[in-house]
């Protein structure tokens, strides 16, 4: 990555990931201020939506025991978004699919769940079973809402928006590999980003040049199950509860916003062997590793 006096970085940890804000300015105070804005936003969203916190909105929803929950405007907007993604992806993108982690643990072992186990958990998956009439949500007992698929990307976009409302200095916001830039660097130069992909053959790196827009990478080659010579990827199809066959090792997508990139990279993964064709058809710039 280029460095130099002109590029200031602000680093912190949030959402279980290393985060960084690069600010294209010589002013360290401005950089610290803008970096602080991003950090505050990342932490705010983490506290609000973390599955692991007792006081989060997610936990409130998931422990509501089938009773109606009235949601705030931001959460309502995110659920509307999730609803649209469900419609657009014809059910592939489903925020209720998190319960599958109860039976699928991708630790490289051969603990593949049985057909019976999958069949028993399927009734607890399906966005259509959720009664969402803004601002009231009724989540049937046993089901869970998981903002994990949207949270980090939403945080990047939200943090960037807050930064650009304060300053027009070009910035790059990177939360654990999901990143977005606000504008080209000064002098109309592009941001240089390295994408690392880890697989059995080692680490491969690609370098990308970005003027505007966002990048996300889906996939983790280390998460899989191997049984009877069949490799089960960790990309699960919420419609049947089983891993997608022939899913790529990783998909990197460029899009105008981080959320779009995140949704499109998830959807590309779920296309299995048709991932390349999907990205081509959608006119989305992407890079797939198999």
């Amino acid at each position: 990555m280029t460095s130099g006096v002109e590029m200031q970085r602000h680093r912190f940890s949030a959402m279980a990931s290393p985060c960084e804000v690069q600010v294209d300015s010589r002013d360290p105070l401005l950089a610290a201020h803008l970096g602080g804005i991003a950090e505050a936003e990342a932490k705010r969203i983490e506290v609000k939506y973390s599955r692991y916190r007792d006081d989060s909105v997610t936990t409130t929803i998931n422990t509501s025991g089938g009773k109606p929950v009235v949601l705030d405007d931001e959460t309502a907007a995110l659920l509307d978004y999730a609803d649209s993604c469900f419609d657009l992806s014809k059910g592939l993108f489903d925020v209720t699919s998190g319960v599958l982690r109860r039976i699928w643990r991708f630790d490289g072992s051969d603990n593949v769940p049985t057909k019976q186990q999958v069949a028993e958990i399927l009734p607890f998956i399906g966005w259509k079973k959720v009664a969402w009439r803004r601002p009231e949500l009724i989540l049937p007992e046993g089901m869970e809402i998981d903002f994990g698929g949207l949270g980090k990307e939403y945080a990047v976009d939200s943090a960037l928006l807050k930064i650009t409302q304060e300053s027009s200095v070009p910035v790059l916001v990177n939360f654990g590999g999901d990143l977005r830039v606000s504008a080209p660097r000064s002098g109309n130069r592009r941001w240089r980003v390295a994408i690392e992909s880890v697989d059995e053959d080692g680490v491969s790196t690609a370098r990308l040049e970005l003027a505007t827009g966002a990048l996300t990478t889906s996939g983790d080659a280390r998460r899989f199950l191997l049984k009877d010579g069949v490799r089960y990827s960790h990309i699960l199809d919420p419609r049947n509860g089983w891993p997608v066959k022939h899913a790529p090792r990783s998909v990197t997508v460029a899009a105008p916003t981080c959320m779009e990139a995140g949704v499109m990279s998830t959807l590309a993964m779920l296309q299995g062997k048709k991932a390349e064709a999907f990205l081509r058809r959608e006119g989305i710039q992407g890079w797939i590793v198999r």
């Binding site: 907007a77 978004y81 040049e209 899009a255 105008p256 916003t257 959320m259 959608e282």
Partner: protein, 471 residues
């Protein structure tokens, strides 16, 4: 890695819009961003083309100035009508608009009498000496005549044999102003108020209207209900003639007026991604003076057909009008088709059907053509007659005004649009409008059967305009 600009697919495009809306909702931006841009190396700026112009109207001022040049064949009515329109749209969606119209009319218009094989003479009032001025209905080809015996000053004009009697002194100037204000209570509810006033030398019209629109189903359905009240004053320059009395040069009675109340109910529905439909039902009640004070009807000899006298016409004082209108906009690739139908019926027994089709065809990013065709057919009012027969009892109502008769009309036109900049358009429309109808009626007496009784128009118009939106 090479990053090339590509055309976005359905899912990615839709996702872009949904994402933009999410940040409007969570960050309180005044307005959602329209189409998403492809990222990275290409910093595109949607300049908007003639076909894909989807820019918002919020926070803009739209101006539109145009002129109509209208000319009927046969030396009949000629009009020039400039119009200036200004519309302010606030960031919150409220609108205020102003429209000013000036209408200058000259030429000749049928007086309602039938043509005849001999010269006909028509008598109208005139101004006293020293008060000559251009008036509606009694100058032009008229000569001033002193009536022997009474000494009264009248104007008379003569119509050559076999010519459709036209009153050539038709000259008028009309000024009109329209104001309209609408307010968005919430994204789904809009209320509109309108005020109109129109004034010409012998006629004044004032109206007020209000309507309420409500959106349903994610703005796919809009229901509108509106009411309109209009008050019209007729003050013919020489007074209002007593209906069904003989045409003469006397100064006549006081002005008359009428009230109009109407209600409209309509639904606009997005049918599919490329088809928008509008269905309206209108009902209106006119009460008061609805005669044309300058129009007469010939009373002819029942054997020979020769005109014996000319009577001022008379129409009922009440009229209930209903119409059902269906309009469609259908996008077919880059073109847009406009198809509409209207069925009309009123208590005067005028029934009509109208069908229109126009097709907007973009030729390049800054130029389009739009040919159009309109078909219209109406039946005659119950009291319409080309003439009355002498010796018969007078009917309560009678009018020979061709506009209440039975006829078919066809309009054929071509519009050209030129995009001058991102926000401006220069447009020109040329049209030919022709009415056709029966030239005679069965049983027309004597030589009247050889005359062409139909007085419909054949007109050509050119409309030129320029509209510009300031952002």
């Amino acid at each position: 890695m090479q990053l090339r600009k590509r055309k976005m697919g359905r899912v990615s495009r839709a996702l872009g819009l949904v994402t933009a809306n999410l940040f409007v909702a969570t960050n309180g931006y005044a307005q959602a961003v329209p189409a998403p841009q492809p990222p990275a190396t290409h910093l595109g700026n949607s300049s908007g083309s003639v076909t894909d112009d989807t820019q918002s109207d919020l926070g803009t001022i739209t101006t539109d100035g145009s002129v109509l040049f209208y000319q009927e064949k046969g030396g009949r009515v000629k009009a020039v009508e400039p119009v200036a329109r200004l519309k302010f749209t606030g960031e919150n969606g409220d609108t205020f608009s102003l429209k000013a119209t000036y209408d200058s009319l000259t030429g000749a218009t049928p007086n309602g009498a039938t043509p005849w094989k001999e010269t006909q003479t028509f008598t109208t009032p005139t101004t006293p000496p020293g008060h000559e001025e251009a008036v509606t209905g009694a100058s032009g080809n008229s000569t001033i005549v002193i009536v022997p015996g009474t000494g009264a000053r009248v104007a008379q004009y003569q119509i050559a044999p076999h010519q459709l009697p036209l009153d050539a002194g038709f000259r008028d100037r009309r000024y009109a102003l329209n104001l309209s204000y609408s307010h968005l209570f919430n994204p789904n509810t809009r209320i509109t108020f309108g005020l109109n006033g129109s004034r010409e030398r012998d006629y004044r019209s004032y109206s007020a209207n209000t309507s309420l629109s409500q959106d349903f189903n994610d703005h796919n359905t809009t229901l509108t209900v509106g009411v309109n009240y209009e008050y019209d004053q007729s003050r013919p320059h020489f007074g209002t003639p007593t209906p069904l009395t003989e045409m003469n040069g006397l100064i006549k009675g006081p002005g008359e007026n009428k009230h109009v109340f109407s209600v409209i109910a309509g639904v606009t529905q997005v049918m599919t991604r490329f088809w928008l439909l509008q269905l309206n039902y209108t009902i209106g009640w006119n009460n008061g003076y609805q005669n044309d004070p300058y129009k007469i009807i010939s009373v002819v000899d029942p054997i020979t057909g020769a005109p014996q006298q000319y009577l001022y016409e008379n129409r009922p004082r009440s009229r209930t009008r209903q119409s059902v209108y269906l309009g469609n906009k259908i996008a077919i690739g880059p073109t847009v088709a406009d198809l509409s139908f209207r069925y009309y019926h009123d208590s005067w027994k005028v029934d009509s059907i109208t069908a229109e089709i126009a097709e907007r065809v973009p030729i390049s990013s800054w130029f389009y053509v739009e040919p159009d065709f309109r078909y219209y057919h109406q039946t005659a009012a119950s009291f319409f007659n080309y003439y009355l027969l002498a010796g018969q009892p007078l009917p309560s109502y009678a009018s020979a005004d061709y506009r209440l008769g039975r006829f078919t009309a066809k309009t054929i036109g071509l519009k050209l649009g030129f995009k001058v900049s991102r926000d401006g358009e220069f447009y020109v429309l040329g049209e030919d409008y022709k009415q056709t109808g029966a030239s005679t009626v069965p049983g027309a007496p004597g030589d009247l059967a050889n005359e062409n009784l139909f007085a419909g128009v054949h007109a050509r118009s050119v409309m030129v305009g320029f509209s510009y939106t300031f952002r």
